[in-house]
Structures are given as C-alpha cells and as structure tokens.
C-alpha cells in the first residue's frame, strides 16, 4: 500500500464567470521513502492539488476525487477536527515564501512550540528542548538564542529553515514542499535541498517537491509528474524523463532550458505547441 494516493482529483473554483477547473483529473502515488517532484508552470494546478489534499483551500473550492488516501485513511470523508489531527502532524507542508508564511507577531520559538503543544501535548520544558533540537537539526546556529527571535530578524534562508523545522517537528510521514527554494539564492538553495534530502533519507519520509525549476527536479527527485493547465501530462522516473521525455510538452519544456540552448534562439513552447497539441501529446 502506498503512503499517499490520489485518484482522479478535480478541484473547481466558483468564479463570476462560472466554475473554473484548476485541477482536472490528476492521480498520483507516493511511497514511504520516495521523492516525487511535481513540475509545471504557474497555473498548472500543482500547488492547488496539494492544498486540496491538505484541506487548506477556501470554501469556494469544490474538491472531488475517486480516492484521496493517506496511510489508509480517507481524507475526503474526515471531519475538519479529525483532519487537523493528521494535517500538520503526519502530513506537513513547507510553503513557498518563508517570510510571508511565518507570523510576524510571534517569535519563531513560540511558533514551533505551538505545533509541539497542539499535536504532541509536550510540557513547557520538553517543548523548549525539542525546539532547540529541531533548530540544531536544520542547521540554525545558536538555536537557544534564536528561539526568541522574530521572523523579521532572520534572513530568508534562516526563515526557510524555521519552516522546515516546524514541518519536521512531529516526524511527519509525508512532507510536501511547495517551491521550497524559489525565493532563495542558489548557494542557500543548495544548502536547503541538501538538508531536505538528508532528512528525507534519515527519516524515511515520503517527500513531494513542487517546483518549476528543472534543475531542482534533476537534483532531488526519484519520480516526476509534469502538469500543464491542471492536467497530468507525463509521469516518469527522473532519468527517463530527462533522457527520453515521452510527451511533446516535456520535450518542449526541456528544450526551453537555457542550459540546453544550441543555437542563438531558445525554442519557446507557445511558438510551436498549442494546448490541443500538448494534451494530445500527453502520456
């Protein structure tokens, strides 16, 4: 049995112009200890599908799926309070903008101890000890001192480490990282990715990395799903995706990488592919 399984997920938003389908029949599976990357451009529904699984979408979203299972539990049928015992504990998420996702009004220590109090019910001293341990784990220098800092006193990379520490605080079985390094410099990006990969291997977590950066995919993933406009275009293991992409869209996406530029001009997707061609070329 896989750790996390989605079958035929559809997410629709009610808008003034009628329903808008952000995710259109996406299926995926993640096993324990596996790294899955979801790639796509903005608007491809990669974040929305994960938010739907976490139950974090606003009420305007209509989520339907044939199957939305985590560890054998049906997430769709859960009551909100039951869901909250799983989300944040067994499934954790790292959001895109570390500085915007932390609450500016509270110290980072308060924010990580809040999770430990609610999900694990630790007492004050144990919470503090665990928080220091976690900060140490993600490589924040002077962890005890840092607990009383506010997010604005830390750099973007440090805030992202705090986010990772919060996500890891309850030893999740599945970690979803939504563009974990997009806002960061390449050297910090490297440190954060190395950290995520090390923690994933040590704890045997399932890890879903959402990104639009092909380099990040190449450096981290075991398996890759390519999405476009809410649909799954291709699913393959990382090597065959880069070596021999099957769908026309993936081929176009890879050839648009400046790394792979052969001539003076970069091939662009819109210039030689229409939506119909992209969907027809999906596998």
């Amino acid at each position: 049995m896989s750790l996390f399984e989605i079958e035929n997920l559809v997410v629709e938003f009610q808008t003034a112009a009628g329903p808008f389908r952000a995710v259109d029949g996406v299926s995926m599976k993640v096993n324990a200890g596996e790294v899955l990357a979801i790639v796509g451009e903005s608007g491809s529904g990669k974040s929305v599908s994960m938010l739907a699984a976490m139950g974090l979408l606003p009420w305007t979203a209509k989520v339907t799926a044939d199957k939305l299972q985590f560890n054998g539990i049906d997430l769709l049928g859960l009551s909100p309070s039951d869901r909250r015992t799983i989300v944040g504990k067994d499934i954790a998420m790292i959001f895109q903008e570390p500085i915007a996702s932390l609450n500016p009004c509270f110290t980072v220590g308060f924010q990580i101890e809040e999770v430990l109090r609610i999900h694990l019910g630790l007492d004050r001293a144990a919470r503090r000890a665990r928080a220091i341990e976690l900060f140490d784990l993600v490589g924040i220098p002077n962890p005890a001192e840092r607990l009383s800092h506010f997010p604005h006193q830390m750099s973007g990379g440090q805030c992202q480490r705090v986010m990772i520490a919060i996500a890891l605080s309850c030893n999740p079985k599945l970690l979803i990282a939504d563009e974990p390094t997009t806002a960061l410099d390449v050297t910090i990006q490297k440190q954060i990715l190395d950290l995520l990969m090390r923690l994933q291997a040590e704890h045997g977590m399932g890890l879903i990395i959402i990104t639009h950066n092909m380099g990040v995919v190449a450096e981290t993933a075991d398996r890759v799903i390519v999405q476009y406009k809410g649909r799954k275009i291709e699913e393959a293991d990382v090597l065959s995706l880069f070596e021999a992409p099957k769908s026309t869209y993936t081929r176009a996406l890879l050839s648009a990488l400046p790394d792979n530029a052969t001539g003076d001009r970069l091939p662009t997707i819109a210039e030689f592919l229409s939506d119909d061609q992209i969907f027809a070329g999906a596998v």
């Binding site: 390449v186 490297k190 090597l239 790394d259």
Partner: protein
Amino acid sequence: MTHVLEAKNLTRDYHIPGSLFKKAKTVHAVKGVSFSVDQGKTLAIVGESGCGKSTLARIVTMIDPATSGDMLIDGQKVDIARESLTPEMRQKVQIVFQNPYGTLNPRKKIGEILTEPLIINTNMKADDRRDKAMAMLKKVGLEEKHYGRYPHMFSGGQRQRVAIARALMLNPRLLVLDEPVSALDLSVQAQVLNLLADLQDEFQLTYVFISHDLSVVRYIADDVMVMYYGEAVEYGSREEVFSDPKHSYTRTLFAATPRADVESIKARLARKNAA
C-alpha cells in the same frame, strides 16, 4: 572607440544614522568596481542578494549617485551628485525592473505608460507619441489593440514586454535589466530572452544584465562580472569565467547551481544507491 559605459572604481556607501541606543553605521554597498561595456554587447552581473548588484544598477541608471569613482557614458562623465541630469543623458540609459507586477502603474493604460517618458523628456506631438508607442508595441510582440488596456489585463510575460517597451521608448543606448526574467515561467522566460536578443540586434543595444541565474547568464552574456559583498571578485569574458573560474566564490556559485543534464542525474542516483 569609446565604450558605451565605463566605470572606474565606483563605490557607494550608505550611512545609517545613529540614535540614542545605536551607533551610526556606514554600509559599503559597492566597493571600488570597474568595468566597461561596448555597443551591442551584454555585461552580466551575477551575485547573491545583498552583494550590491542592484545598487550598482541604480548608479548606472543615474538614480543614485556614486560615493566616489567615475562613470562615463559614451565617453561623457556623469556625476548626478554635482550637476542635475539633462534629458539627453536620461534618454541614454533606461532600466527594466524585476517584478513586472509592481512596476507598471495599475491605474494607467498601457498607452499612457508608454508615452509618459516621451512627455517628460521630449517635446513630441501627441500624434507622434501615439504612433511611436503603437510601433513599439509591435516591436515587443504585442498588438495595437493592447494600447488602451490596463496592466492587470496582461500576463507576467506580457507585462515584462510592456516594461521593456517603455524602457525603449526613448531610444536608449544602454539598457539596464535588473533580473528581468526571474519572476517568469520557463517558457515565458525563453520568449523574453529571445525578444531581448532580437531587440539588441535591431537597435544595437548595450545591456547590463543583472541576474542570479547562471544558466541564463551563460546564454545571454558576452562578459560576466561576479560580485560578492560589494566587490567584483571575478570579471572576464563568458568563456573565461565559465571555463576557468579564478575566485573560490565563483566556484562555489557554480557548484551550487542545480544541473539538469543526464550525466549529473546518473551520478546522483548512483551515489544514492551506494549509500
């Protein structure tokens, strides 16, 4: 031949005034940087956030004065701290900013955005301004019907095209591009990079291209300058810098850049299986 842009030993300090509890402090944002760019060429400036590359962009665009050092544009010395900027100089250098969502006034139509530089810096007639804006829209791959629309009606890539069109309205010699494609998707990024290359060929433009993305830099640049804590630690032609980086920071930067080629994936998977 004179260089379009020449900088000699540019520095920029920011003074942070002290208070009762804090001592006054001086931040040396740019510490003695020299470089030159010729017509039709692209100089890429690479570095992490806080390394002074955007400060340098502001100096080159004549928004902020340099604290010391000389800057020559078309062989002519510029010092905005001492004398005010003439419209002629203003027309020579234009800038495109990183975030196309934040740099276009949401309450102005595209046509007004494009003609505004002409109203301020030239005495063209309204008809001529309109014709010029229409022609520029087509140059950057937009259509005449977009003239009367508002920025929110455009996608990120289209907005960046508008920002580029606005920068080109005054026929500048030098275009400063401050992370022009970092906010864009991969396929849109390719379109904008192609557009920049086409425009450079057509108008013989000179670019100062600021970026932290080495794969983009390798694609677009003729010369590369790597900055680290306000200093230029490496400066040379693209081939020199990429094939034989001298400074340890440049090597760190290269090592940190994710690689998307099949060999590196194979190597990574092999390491993983061995572990």
